[in-house]
Symmetry: C2
Subunit: 172 residues, 2 copies
DNA sequence: CACTTGTGTCCAATTATTTGACACTATAGG
DNA sequence: CCTATAGTGTCAAATAATTGGACACAAGTG
């Protein structure tokens, strides 16, 4: 039970119930919402480890636009909470756009319970990984240096440090 | 013509020709390969700004496994070059897996020429963005501090710096 | 050739970081 | 209630890193 709270947002009560049962064994607490309107408030209150978000809320509109909007809004306000999208009207373009907008994963209805649990666990585990500051730094330095084809001056400039400091960061 | 070289890998010669024509106006140089076997060598030689990679090479196998394998291999060796996947047998699971494996984007055949160009330009622009070191640092610090619920000692520990240094990094 | 740009390398002055310490506040367990 | 335990905020002195400037030198360009 190390996975804390999860927030599930879907306008179909039957699905909320089903998901709740499915996830009850993995999460300490399963909070459900039948509309994303109050999502931002609830998230601030509950501080969930992850969010499972349906993509369609307006009846008859299956474009996923609304889910995408909420994804962006939630992700902007809580960039550290992984958001997994779920939809019955899956299409490749939508999935790609969702992932590029910050979604941690994308699941299609009907879902497989084990897969859903695995996906959510994965998302949380990944979001929880913490990199030491110096490792982050040296990786970034190497990347920028690569992009500058080894031009130390330009790389140092882009990194916002002096050329000599860049030397130091590479030597060891 | 600021987009340099692009490498296109597809086993269908007709598609290579079509893509070449489509991209000739945007890229200084369009290099084509009809098999991914030599991709790693060619990439090292050409240092392309981006790679457009087909997902299916074995005749009759449309699972995309082979493309996924090559995506991983190329991405591991050249993590700074954006790889855009293209496939005729699109499915959501495959697209999601590809993006999570490091693909910059995912396009389906038949493609729209303008969209393909836009996607490639986007991928290159995004890969070219360079973040100053101190900005990267402060973002990461904030994120870790968040995850530790404000526990300075633990955050400093995870970041690999002293508690006092963490104070300094937050103050300004 | 002159001119520009970048490279290594050094130095002294300035900043950051670390280590250790201190008094203080919570909080759980006996 | 008392006492470990863990964290906070702050300070100071020693140490390490960063800066800005300088220099001679290499490569590329008009």
């Amino acid at each position: 039970m190390k996975y804390g709270t999860i927030l599930v947002i879907d306008d179909n009560p039957a699905i909320l119930t089903a998901v709740k049962i499915c996830l009850a064994g993995t999460f300490e607490r399963v909070v459900t919402l039948n509309s994303p309107e109050k999502a931002l408030v609830i998230i601030a209150q509950e501080n969930p480890s992850a969010i499972l978000l349906d993509m369609n809320f307006s009846l008859g509109v299956n474009s996923g636009q609304e889910g995408m909007m909420w994804l962006s809004a939630i992700h902007r306000k809580f960039p550290d909470i992984p958001i997994v999208l779920i939809t019955a009207y899956a299409d490749v373009k939508l999935a790609v756009r969702a992932l590029k907008n910050g979604a941690a994963d994308f699941v299609t209805k009907p879902w497989d319970n084990d897969e859903l649990i695995r996906v959510l666990k994965d998302a949380i585990d990944k979001a929880g990984e913490i990199i030491p500051l110096d490792q982050l730094e040296s990786e970034h330095v190497r990347k920028v240096l690569n992009k500058c084809d080894g031009n130390m001056k330009k790389a140092a400039d882009l990194l916002g440090i002096s050329r000599q400091t860049l030397y130091n960061k590479i030597k060891p």
